[in-house]
Every structure is written in C-alpha cells, then in structure tokens.
Symmetry: C2
Subunit: 386 residues, 2 copies
C-alpha cells in the first residue's frame, strides 16, 4: 500500500478520516501509543493490537543510540526487528536531543549533542534524521525541527521558525533524493520504500509566527503536517487557541498531527479544531505511577479508599484488567511493587485512550461530536482541577 489520506466525514471542525500506509490502515482521529525504545512500556504487541492500536510511535533518538539504526536496518527495519506489523511513526529525534539541555548545541547545520548513554559526541542534521528514519523504516517519518523551551520570546521564536524552515527544505530534499535514488554518498537502505514524511509547524504561542511557520512548511510540501512545540507548559487554553488558529492553515486533504498531546480533554478539543493524529506518554507513564484514566475521571489506585473496593477500576470498561481485577487487588499489586501492576494499569489506560478515540470517531460519523465533546469536557475539566 502507498501512503494516502482521505477525509470521510466532518462534523463542524472535527474530521473522520482514513490514513493508508505501507503497513496498513489507520482510522482517524487516532491516538498513537508511544513505544520509545521499540516497545510500548510494559505491554506486548499483542496486547496493543487487541486494544485496537492501529499505529504506534517509536523514538528515533533512543533507537539510533541503542541498538542503532544501522543494526535495525540490517535486520530489515524496525517492523521486522521488533515484530510490530502495523503502521509505525518515528519522530525525528530532535525533541529528545533538545531536551538534553546542556549536553547539546544548535548549529546551522544541525544539533551537536552527547549521548545520554555514554557521553559520545553526535551531530543530528536534517539529512541524517531522514537517513536514520529511512533505516528504521517507519511508515511516517518526521522532519528535524528546533524545539524551543517554554516560555520563549518572540525574537527567539522568530529565529527558531526560520531555522526550522531551512531545515524542513533540506529534510524534504534529502527525503526525495533518497526516494528517487538520487542521493549522493554511501547508500541508505529504505527499509519501507513507500515511507511518508511530515513537516512540523513551530512558533511557540505567537499566532503570527505560527502562521508564518505553517506557510513556510506548506510551501515545502509534505504528505502530512504536524504541530510541534505545544503541551510544553503553556495553559491548555493557549494550546487550543494555537491549534484553532493553525489547523485551518494546513492543507485540508492532508493529515494533521498534534505532537505530544495530551489529556482526554486535549484530544477532543484538538479534534474539534481539525486534528487527526496524536501521541502522548501520559497513558503509559501515569499507569506506571498508579494513575488510571476512567469514564468518571482520574483514579489513583494507591489511594487508601480502594483498599477493599471490589469494583473494577472503570465500570464502563471492557479491557482485560477491568474484566478480571478489582481496585483492591490492583492497589495491592501497586503497593507491593509488582511488575504486573505496571502491565495491568498500562493495559487499561491504553484501552481507555483508544476507546476515547473510537468514541470520537463514532461521534463524528453520527454527527454528534459536539455532545460527545461536552461529556468528555465535563468529566475531565472537573477531574483535572481536583
């Protein structure tokens, strides 16, 4: 299958779509569980498939450092190496590199950084980020962008979107050269020949810069467009405003991906503003910390209130954890430090997120997205402010 995207139905600003990738189809709006090092933490691929994950995300930085993208390419790419058969998206590695703070330095050609594993010196460039992702063979690769910390001044953000735009052009040139077989230098194996490439809009919380970045990214031209640099500490309302201003400036016939977002409320609010794809570590990270997402809000399983509670974590949930176990038992496992607690909690939270996306898709199809959004907003605004 080659890459494609189709909007099947809209409901106000929300889009119900179908993404086609070399490794299969993705019903959108979709949430991508994060498999940083080639596995979603604590879960098996089978558990993800059964929960209904159409696509997962893997981190280029981590995989390129260990076990290495060259090794993965020799094994036939990340799908064959890791045994995940469905679509995969890889980030550019930039986000992790920029978060290394004092161990990285931005240059015009790319970012110089020291590995968190052994301190070795590396340079990540727009071109090398393309090459690494070609070796990994994801279905969707992302361009290298500069990730500014929040808050940033208008001047910093201005310089940053200009750099990001120059990098986007170089990344696209390299991507097309590899695809068309005209790239110079040592050959780079494209382990997934029909890989797509997404551009990334930056610009902080400044509407004018976001618009300029969207225009510049669109001018380069990609199979899809992402909004980066949000959910980095700004208030949720500010994030929603940026998304609302920018999404319509992106091509309507291409998928739109809001990176690193977010809470259940964020998902519906962003879908309402025309977003199709999401990823976030929240469901799995919170699961390992004992925080469960439920249809009635957040539930901290370590809370003493659950010590003799025979109810499932989420009475409306059909996941294995909720079908099989009580809050009392899950609390016991968590308090006792059992690995199984991380497994069962992660299983539930991923199911909750994927069920939320299913609910969103159904609501759009039946033209009742607004009422679905209100119900989610009601639960999660209350829960998050508690």
């Amino acid at each position: 299958m080659t890459f494609g995207f189709e909007v099947i139905r809209t409901d106000a600003g929300a889009r119900r779509g179908l993404l086609t990738t070399p490794h299969g189809r993705v019903q959108t709006p979709a949430f991508m569980p994060v498999g940083t090092q080639g596995t979603v933490k604590a879960l098996t691929h089978r558990q993800l498939e059964e929960a209904g994950a159409d696509i997962i995300l893997a981190n280029t930085y981590h995989l390129s450092m260990r076990p290495g993208d060259a090794l993965i390419a020799r094994r036939g790419g990340l799908h064959r190496f890791g045994g995940w058969r469905r679509p995969l998206l890889t980030d550019s590695g930039g986000y992790q590199v920029f978060s290394l703070a004092d161990r990285r330095r931005v240059r015009e050609d790319g970012v110089e950084f020291r590995s968190h594993l052994d301190g070795s010196l590396h340079v990540l460039t727009p071109e090398s980020a393309v090459d690494i992702q070609a070796r990994l063979g994801s279905d969707i690769s992302m361009v290298l962008d500069e990730c500014l910390p929040y808050p940033a001044t208008h001047g910093q953000a201005r310089a940053s979107i200009d750099l990001t735009a120059r990098w986007a052009r170089r990344a696209r040139d390299r991507f097309l050269a590899l695809r068309d077989g005209f790239a110079g230098g040592p050959p780079v194996p494209l382990t997934t020949p029909d890989q797509a490439q997404f551009g990334i809009v930056q610009g902080g919380v400044f509407a004018d810069l976001r618009r300029a970045s969207a225009e510049a990214t669109r001018a380069v031209g990609f199979e899809g467009y992402a909004i980066g640099g949000l959910s980095v500490g700004e208030p949720a309302e500010v994030m929603y405003e940026v998304v609302e201003a920018i999404a319509p400036a992106l091509p309507a016939d291409r998928p739109r991906y809001l990176m690193g977002v977010g809470t259940p409320a964020d998902l519906v609010e962003a879908v309402a503003r025309g977003i199709d794809l999401f990823d976030c570590v929240m469901p799995t990270r919170n699961a390992r910390n004992g925080q469960l997402f439920t249809r009635t809000g957040r539930l901290n399983i370590k809370n003493a209130a659950y010590v003799e509670d025979d109810r499932p974590p989420d009475e409306g949930c059909g996941c294995y954890t909720c079908r099989t176990h009580s809050r009392a038992y899950l609390r016991h496992l968590f308090v006792a430090g059992e690995i199984t607690a991380a497994v069962l909690n992660s299983l539930h939270n991923i199911q909750f997120y994927l069920d939320t996306m299913r609910g969103i898709r159904d609501a759009i199809e039946f033209g009742r997205f607004e009422s679905f959004r209100q119900s989610v907003r009601q639960i999660w605004s209350r829960s998050l402010s508690s």
Copy 2:
C-alpha cells in the same frame, strides 16, 4: 469438586496422575508457577492460563503481611480477590519466616518474627498458619514445618523433625476442627470449604531422619505429602538420593510434592522417583535476569552473541515470545531495561517449564519416560555445568 487424586499410569517410578481440587483439575506431574504476592511476577493470569498453568502457588507469609489474610477473607478469599479461577496452593509461611534469620525466634508453640515491611512483631503457630490459609482459601494448604538451614548436624535435624511432627499433629487437629466446625475461639472463615492439607517431611540429608519424619507425617494423615528442606544448597545428587529414599515411604494413593524444586533436570529426576508436584521461582526469576530456558539449554539474552541474531530464543517453542520476537530484539529490550523484557522472558520460561511437564506426562502415558529423561538429562547436565 472435592479433593481427590488418582494415579492413571505409571512408567517405572514415574506417575501420571489427576488431582481434583475445589477449583478444578490438575494434570500431574505438574509444575506450579510461583505467585508470591498474588501474581506470578510480570505475567497476567490470562498469560498463565494460555501457557497451560493448571495451578499456581501463593505465599502465605507475604499475603498475610500485605494486604493481610483478614482483608482477603473479607473479599471472599484469594481466588475472588485476585481473579485467578484455577487451583491455588499456599505454603505455610514458614519458609519465608525462617529465612528472616536474625529477625525470628523458634519457640515450642511457633515462630516469633518481625515483619520485613514494618518490623512489627508476629507469632506464626501451626494453628495460625492453618487459619491464615483458611482465610486465603487456597485449594491446598501446607502445614507449618521447621526449615533448617543447610548444612545442619544430625542432632539439629533430629530435634527439628520432632518439633515438625508435633506441629504437624497440631496443624491437622486445627484443620479438622475448622473443617468440622468444632474450632474454638473467634470464627475463621473457610473461603474454600473443601480445602485440602498437605504434611511435610523434613530431616535434612539424613536418610534415617527422613524415614522417621515420613513415618511421623504419615501417622498424622494428610490429603497429600510434601518433601521440604531440599534444594537449599546440597548437591543435586544428594537431593535425588533423599527423594528416592523417601517417596516410596509416602502413601502411593496421595500426591507427592517436592517443594522449591527446581531445574529442568531436577524435575525429570524427581518424577522418575515418584514426585507429582513442583514449584520454583527459577523460571520467572531467571527470566527477569535475562536467562532463558530453551530446548538446547540455557541462553543468556544479554550475551553479545545475540546482538544480531534473528532466531527466536527457542526454535522449538510455540510461545508468544518465540513466535513474535528475535533474540536480537529481546536482547535490545533487556539491555534497555524495558519492563516488556521481563514480561516476554517470563512468558517464555513459564511456557518452557509447562511444556517440559507436558512432555513428561506424555512420555509416561506412552511408556517412554526413560528416553525423555535421558534427553533432558543430556541437555541440562551439559548446560548447567557450562
């Protein structure tokens, strides 16, 4: 179902049997994965069921300390509390209490000890061990016995089997009184009314004491008999000799359980000498340390030899891990410290142990146990001495 045991077929000393318990049947010889705190580490109940686990073991000491046997009884017993529907065996708690070393003191009436969790003072007696396990509601409960360290002198072991025999009598009296409703004091809920009780033969490596202990235990009379105090540091050959001397001294129509054993070679050697039941942390503990059991011997997944090895860990294995993943990927997950590594390795090792037991049962049924034993011995004597 009430408790029962039937030997279906024998092949030289090996017995193929069927154990019937309140929560279902167990094909013997059987291996019980260890679920110390109410879960087999890193695995879900479903994964255990799919691997073919007929029965698992839970630790009375750990569960009585946290979340507490009274809490579990209020939740309806360990089956209902933890969601495991098949048979369960609980130990007496003695083994863990004795391993507390300087935090416990043996008295005639029982063992005084301090909790490893909060240092609180407790006394475990033959009677309280019965009561705790009645609250937990396992299908098979074990009597409290004294667990001697290895090596022990003949004099120490002599005193110990006498104490264990006095405790066995008291444990049986208490068990029968509870069962028949004639126990004094506050009521103890029997959350599994048809629970069975096994006695334990001790006596270290001394054949005369083992025989005396077997006789004393048999004189009390139990639904099954265990051999305790082995696999505590003595050479494997010594353990096999003790089993060979003692198993025939136990009633032929009752199940025989060799506690805390062992390697694949230990399992077949003990089955050859008439043992029906086993438990051991080895498959799960070794899995978490990256050591896999395979049909060709041990495999340390962290070994650099596997860094680009596309083969499954065990080419003869049909488990999820072997069907889905390569050694190269499993090595990566282990080196990266992923929880999923513990899950996938545990899944495989438990499947390997349960497959070994299936192989043993089939071999006995078809009268070819001796050749099966030789093949296992050949692989594991070589592997373990390497």
